[in-house]
Symmetry: C2
Subunit: 542 residues, 2 copies
């Protein structure tokens, strides 16, 4: 065995472990990289691979990439997999990385994974910044725009959020955020608690753990009002029903952090490392999803690798009560039913939708669906036969699965599959609106451009696909993620400029929700991804 000599940054990253007397070593026959190549491959691995394969490379949505696995495959095979993807769901990366970068990544994943350090509450607090003092927050909107029909849009690879006026379709501003923001959430209406000015404040969480607070009442140049950092790698965020707390979940360190929603000052950190449903200890037990329960003083925290759903009661942070609900691995993303009582979340390695009862704080049901369910923001609607239903797309198959979700009004249909709709390609996002007769599904995971660039629309009554919409035909672009405007008359679809991800050549295409015809294109956006309409999100129009 030998120690990596060039791994200066690897060593600084390993501080947490080094303090216990451990060092990063490579196995005798491991390949090596120059320091510069190692650092770049490490960064690219973190940005593009760690999400599915894990920082420690033990695997989750993706396969284990520990040296004992990768050394068996060898350099050539690994390069091919990275370049062209696999039928198992691995993306192709030949359009994002150069041949040399792919070769270095293939080498990097045959080497011992570097272990990143811990992050203390004190370290987080050192990142907290105030851009606008709370005493200077305006008492009414400072612009004449209809802010409740704003769309808050993730510009993924720019590290920005765009604010778009849903009435005029004009970009109000681009706001600096963390890297590759995964989710943005605002204050929402709550059954018990009551946030002030619901929908006004929005919170972004970057892949790099950076948290930014946006005030939609400010003039466009001052909308970014506060910032902090709660992890090195993170995915989700939520605001408490009373608007007092923000919670964000870390991939690394594996923990969640509760912050003061006014200042973003981190108040409480709770580790999610622990045991999976089989009783095996998981060090990299990442927080996949966080939501605020609409009827309870609780956050719902989904821990991916352990299959544990945490219901975190935020009414007393010093005496913090958490119910750990054992479900199935690997938890990913979810959404509430229309009553706000039941949380429906994908356990995508188990091909199940897990349902948690937030009133009783217990597992309500597990529904068998198909390969790698992924509902994104989800969709709830009413079916003629089954009553209230919800649906999910799948990462592994072109299929929308629909189940009953009204155990009180329709107990016979509840938590059972009602019907399935085949689509042309595996997708990531599904969406509808209470005013619409249609359900929209994207096909982002399909390898063929013409399918990846199309979304499909099916009818709630006939369960038949009524239209396949080619959102873009440009090379290197893909269509994803639908969001309705405030009154449900429009559907906004993102177009990723995947191949030109550093420039604002992405767009949002706006469709008439009834005729399904294109109305307009909003240009000048960099990899637009998730979009959040203020009114719909604040009022749970899911």
């Amino acid at each position: 065995m030998k120690t990596i000599k060039y791994g200066l940054s690897a060593i600084s990253l390993a501080i947490g472990i080094a303090a216990s007397g451990f060092s990063i070593s490579t196995l005798a026959n491991e390949p090596t990289l120059s320091k510069a190549d190692y650092e770049q491959a490490k960064l690219q691995y973190f940005q593009r691979c760690a999400g599915c394969h894990g920082t420690l490379r033990k695997g989750a949505t993706g396969k284990s990439l520990e040296p004992e696995e990768t050394l068996k495959k060898g350099q050539t095979r690994l390069e091919k997999i990275i370049a062209y993807g696999t039928e198992g769901g691995m993306n192709n990366f030949d359009d994002l990385f150069t041949k040399e970068e792919i070769a270095n990544l293939a080498t990097f994943i045959q080497m011992t994974p570097p272990v990143p350090p811990e992050m203390s509450l004190e370290q987080m607090r050192s990142h907290t910044k105030e851009y606008v003092a709370p005493k200077d927050y305006p008492s009414k909107p400072l612009h004449g725009l209809n802010w409740e029909n704003f769309f808050v849009v993730i510009e993924r690879d720019a590290g920005k959020a765009a604010i778009i006026d849903g009435d005029t379709k004009k970009i109000v501003t681009h706001i600096d955020t963390g890297y590759a923001v995964h989710v943005i959430k605002g204050t929402e209406h709550h059954k018990v608690d009551h946030a002030k000015d619901v929908g006004r404040f929005w919170y972004t969480i970057g892949r790099d753990g950076k948290v930014n607070k946006i005030d939609l009442w400010q003039t466009p140049d001052k909308m970014l009002v506060a910032e902090t950092k709660m992890a090195y790698d993170a995915r989700d965020i939520a605001v408490s029903g009373d608007g007092k707390y923000v919670i964000a979940g870390g991939y690394w360190p594996a923990h969640f952090v509760i912050m003061d929603a006014v200042t973003l000052n981190p108040l409480k950190v709770v580790s999610t490392r622990g045991y999976n449903t089989k009783g095996e200890f998981i060090n990299e037990a990442r927080v996949a999803a966080i939501y605020t329960a609409p009827n309870e003083s609780s956050f719902i925290v989904a821990v991916k690798e352990t299959g544990q759903m945490l219901q975190v009661d935020y009414s007393d942070l010093d005496n913090l009560t958490i119910t750990t609900i054992a479900s199935a691995e690997f938890l990913h993303d979810g959404f509430f039913d229309p009553s706000g009582r039941y949380f429906q979340i994908a356990a995508n390695a188990s091909n199940k939708m897990v349902v948690v009862d937030t009133k009783e704080r217990k597992l309500e049901a597990m529904i068998d669906v198909e390969s790698l369910p992924h509902p994104g923001p989800g969709a709830n609607w009413v079916d003629k036969k089954c009553g209230p239903v919800a649906g999910t797309t799948h990462l592994g198959v072109g299929l929308v699965s629909v189940w009953g979700n009204d155990p009180i009004g329709h107990p016979d249909q509840a938590w059972k599959l009602c019907y399935e709709v085949e689509t042309d390609g595996a997708g990531v996002f599904i969406r509808t609106h209470e005013t619409s007769q249609y359900v929209w599904a994207d096909q982002l995971k399909h390898p063929e451009p013409e399918i990846q660039q199309s979304v499909q629309v099916f009818d709630k009554n006939t369960h038949e696909i009524v239209k396949t919409i080619r959102v873009t035909e440009e090379e290197g672009k893909a269509a994803l993620h639908m969001e309705f405007n405030d009154d449900g008359s429009e559907v906004w679809v993102s177009v990723w400029n995947r191949k030109d991800a550093r420039n604002p050549t992405g767009e949002i295409v706006v469709y008439d929700a009834k005729t399904l015809k294109e109305k307009t294109r909003i240009k000048g956006l960099t990899t637009p991804t998730g979009k959040f309409n203020v009114f719909n999100r604040a009022n749970h129009k899911t």
Copy 2:
């Protein structure tokens, strides 16, 4: 840097980490040991040092012994400290270890600490053994003895528990247990739940994580009825109020395990790794103490290094609700007040007694006491001025601190110091009984033999020491731990045969609780330590 070549067992111990690609390495200038010496030093460190200094040697009750600290001190100074102890509370070990063993230990603690592996639920289950099938459990006691006045006695260095008949003072049997059992607990009366045959079943927890179940109704040769193992290093255990579950806490891995109290089959494991009250991540977050709340369907789990008290609701293991009550580091041992609502526990690095309200599931108070409070089983009684009070001895100073503990009847005195009693030496255990006018305190931590061999008794009314009792005068022996018999007429004191710890040359000295005069000596015991009277423990006569 170089890898330890001889560390075969170190490597097997490090499996959990090795799987992530890490290896045990030593720093360039670290001293080394032969394989045989390394293994013996590692075992001796585990048995005698890890309790205070931690398996990873980050320190807790004792100082950090990581190489960056120990290399500064050097071989000679370390040998002296191990041999003769320090004024800071470190014991002398020259009576336990040879000079060569001390030299090897001094070298071992300058080397990189080996990291032990994890333990899964499946691994625990592979250790579960049935000695007597539950269907063969007797329906009434199979011996004619007064089992409710039995004493269950830890024979620390023999890895046994002795059952002693409190009426006849005869040893009924010696039962094989884990190594150096720390605590033995039986079923107790509970306000809400109701265990069958309260006081009949007893559960031991070994330092090696072995759990044994004892049935006091069996014939002496069959009293050991079941066994399992829930950790590599452990300290405390408890039985649920309904008698259905046993819970034990691990030092390594840092977790607690809930078992079926009938079969000892492990059902649920929960990690205690997490953040301390300052928001710093603690990997070795050890479970110091576990108790059953007498009025609630809850276990109380004290996590030493994080200063977090966990109130674990055992009414639904699949949807497990835990309230994490932030208090102070490092939590050690505690006891309930007479009402059963308040749990009083030492935070010995903070010199505080922490009080948890198990009804409201929150921190009730923190009381400043002196250096290293350690109440052991604790003592509650009634003071003329302050009303109901409780007291603790201290590891760091010869002092009993007494505080009011009746916030409802005596709110002005509650959780405030009522008075202090100076003793001749720092001690580990305090004890009294509702029928007695005296409180007993040992002085085990005092370096001088004549004080270490004496216990002191003070009067509840005058607050004055009324008698110093020299329990033994034999060289290498020490007096510790008091327990009353069922009607409070006797006090039993243990005599450790520290220098001859492998032979049954220890004893228990029985005193008349009123006259304070010696009645008899029970001989033939190996390092007798904690003693648990069935009736008193089952009925919370603390």
